[in-house]
Symmetry: C2
Subunit: 493 residues, 2 copies
């Protein structure tokens, strides 16, 4: 793995300064194009052994580039806001938007490597994490990110020499701490773990660059030139024309599927409804303040055709919850800041803290519903979304978040009846937009997309619950009951 | 203060349900208009004594309104990310954007009241905080917010009765804690402090509504109706036409001012420059990692005409800093999410954590420079900005942030020379935009605005430093030296 970085590389001062002049001008130029185009973000991971020049390299990049559009993203121990969220949350919230460059000093690799060396993580756990990281990076790259990963290498003797050299200069002595020397004693362990990590995460879409860190000039030129080459290549690429047509929807051999198999005739008379709703609301209220829930949190997703009764079902849940504890997040078009990020970013930002509940009224499933049907994203985009969404929800569940997804199913006659009803009632009229009528015309497409979605993303840990919703009473009680049942099971009660 | 809330109010069930029906429909309608207009945010403060029905009132609002556009903003003990920022940071970051309603369960009043009762805050400190709060609320209202403050009141016997009543019902018993009873023993102290706080913060722009909390129906109708009335009134108001002309700039009796009085002939030869710069950079590097700086942070502001050398001066500072420790924030037009907030919001979000440095390349002073000159805001807006900015910086300084502001002054000939130079150099050409030539035509206006700005916002704790910048060497060294000197003084070294 590290052989090429040990053959000895050096660049003399004169060569460096000559090369630097052009490099700097071209980097600045590329950085400006990046900003003007605003098409993609650049993520630089600068990792490596102690003393191999990680911070010097970063500082050099600041010398060459425009500091206003370059951010260093450093991670120390997680803050309490971070600790209450999934492991990747802190990285998601630090992602640079399109047009900017973010240099990660420490990254999603740092903790696994450190934990593995300390023996706090088994090889199996490490490999699992690496698999998650590979999938995360694939998602970033598919979303357009230019991701460059540098590993700065030193030989064992090179590392000691380098630390002594830093110590001897009063301007750099502070960089060498007791920990730095302690880490020279785990040099072999680091090489072993890092070699393994680099091998497994050396993917086609995000390969590692292993750089000999011994000589400052060589290291800086190498990193600078690789960055420049990757930037210029990417900037010169024609903007891939997104296929903005609605792709054909799979038609199964018969009409039988999870939605058509549903008995939409189910009803609940008013009297029973009130009694049962009160019962489940009471139990939900208890659960939400139960001490077993204190270390957990809850994410609920509501999807369904227009007028399926999502809002009403949600209100019956929130009535049982403390307003300080929940947040209802309506999902419409993304904001400007959200459009500058991977499509899942805007959902990450709303993830609940411990003991909190976030209810999404429509969700990330828009990617495989409206975006698919209306052709807002390419076929390749929504096809990969199923796996990305499963990965995303897997991370939530791994972090102790309870994830539950409801599809409220009505039929076309019921929708029409509700649309007409809305037209009559003053404070409901606004709920009806021309979009609603348009979407209605694509009923079959939406139903097929929903079936695909349920089939591909209903997992044991984050299941879809399909609710017959022609009768509002029945649907509301089922939702309340299933939330209670599922949360109780998750809390082991 | 509380007299009217003690005369006894009650509404029977039947009257309540009749009134509720219209109220709900109109609230929903108003809420929708609010969202569609997107002109202003609604801030509801719901405070009061324990047991007076704060959470019940909030829950009632959720019953009536659309939960998707209503957020409850609750505050428990500050997170470590909040503790490392000024007191108001947590409130700024929770502000609802235009078009939305945010209900504050606990607010900027909670901590001062609790601290005063516990004796942790003197009367003088309390009054100072109230003054700051009044100014903050004035800013919010001037920025367009509809701010409604409710204080839910109970008599002493009423409070005890209410707590016993809550305790006797298994569904509400959990709301009554040991602390609730403990607080009944400080009833008089709370009445005393709250009376004082309410009196002093009962401003024309954000008056308190004191509501008898005894009867649920009465309380809910009262709050709901007041909210509805305020919303409907505000929504019906004609959109105040902003005066979008550039107001006349004050012309003083002579040409002498802080800018013209400057000796722009100051120069530093290359050799001396390099030596001195290295010296100050070295001291800055030391300071930034000194333990005295561990509990502090630094905000630097750079303003000046185009091509004044802001970027170059900034790069000479960042070269001395650890990339993990600083962030350069370039200020151009606000993003969509930023436009939905008070104009200072986008600067609050970039405030540094402890031991960190944020450098603003242009800043909140855009309000009294470009926005004033180009007429992007009304005269009233930029006139009030001086005081708002002073308040903002005062909060930063009070929280231990070191604030330093540089105006780099060049003359018109020098600017022209630099513009022409930029046209010649490949990687600098992009720096020149048609805007730059346009701004150049308004040189005198910008200079006058800068003089006004410096005169009105240079305070002892957050001074402006005017730097003769015709010679880049001289300017860069002065900036580096002044940062060092000022930070050393602030750290008491």
């Amino acid at each position: 793995m590290f052989e090429s970085a040990e053959v000895g590389h050096a660049v003399d001062k004169k060569t460096f300064h000559r090369a630097e002049e052009t490099l700097r001008a071209r980097l600045l130029d590329a950085q400006r194009h990046l900003r003007v185009q605003g098409r993609f973000p650049v993520l630089l991971l600068i990792s490596g052994v102690d003393g191999a020049g990680k911070s010097e390299t970063l500082a050099q990049l600041y010398e060459w580039m425009d500091a206003r559009y370059l951010s260093t993203i450093a991670f120390v121990s997680p803050t309490d806001e971070e600790r209450e969220r999934p492991y990747m949350w802190r990285y998601w919230r630090a992602l640079p938007p399109r047009g900017r460059t973010g240099a990660f000093a420490g990254s999603w690799y740092s903790t696994p490597i450190a934990q593995r060396i300390a023996g706090d993580m088994s090889r199996v756990q490490l490999d699992k994490r690496l698999d998650e990281i590979n999938r995360f990076e694939a998602m970033l790259v598919n979303e357009g990110a230019l991701l460059l990963k540098f590993w700065l290498h030193l030989t064992r003797s090179g590392q000691k020499r380098r630390l002594r050299q830093l110590e001897s200069d009063p301007r750099t002595a502070w960089r060498v701490t007791k920990e730095s020397w302690a880490r020279t004693r785990t040099y072999d362990a680091l090489q072993d773990v890092a070699g393994h990590v680099l091998r497994l995460s050396n993917t086609a879409w995000a390969p590692w660059s292993i750089v000999d860190g011994t000589d400052d000039h060589y290291r800086h030129l190498r990193v600078g030139k690789e960055l420049l080459a990757a930037l210029e290549k990417r900037l010169a690429e024609k903007v891939a024309k997104k296929r903005v047509f609605a792709p054909p929807v799979n038609r199964p051999a018969d009409d039988r599927n999870v939605l058509t198999a549903l008995d939409l005739g189910k009803k609940l008379p008013e009297k029973k409804y009130e009694l049962q709703l009160a019962k489940w609301q009471g139990r939900l209220a208890e659960l939400a303040r139960h001490k077993a829930f204190a270390g957990r949190s809850l994410v609920l997703v509501f999807e369904g055709m227009d007028a399926a009764g999502k809002g009403g079902a949600i209100r019956r849940l929130t009535a049982a919850l403390d307003p300080r504890q929940f947040q209802v997040v309506p999902i419409a078009g993304p904001s400007e800041e959200e459009r500058a990020q991977p499509y899942l970013w805007r959902f990450w930002r709303h993830l609940p803290r411990k003991r909190h509940v976030t209810i999404f009224d429509r969700s990330w499933y828009g990617r495989v519903l409206v975006e698919r049907i209306e052709g807002y994203c390419s076929e390749a985009d929504w096809l990969r979304a199923y796996a990305e969404i499963n990965d995303f929800e897997h991370e939530l569940v791994s972090a102790g978040i309870i994830v539950l997804k409801f599809w409220l199913q009505i039929d076309q006659q019921e929708q029409l009846r509700r649309f007409k009803g809305r037209e009559k009632v003053e404070h409901k009229r606004f709920k009806l937009t021309p979009d609603d009528w348009r979407n209605r015309d694509k009923w079959t497409d939406y139903q097929s997309a929903a079936v695909d979605m349920i089939d591909r993303t209903s997992t044991g840990n984050a299941p879809w619950i399909v609710v017959p919703a022609n009768d509002k009473n029945f649907a509301r009680v089922q939702v309340a009951r299933d939330v209670v049942k599922y949360v109780e099971a998750a809390l082991g009660r």
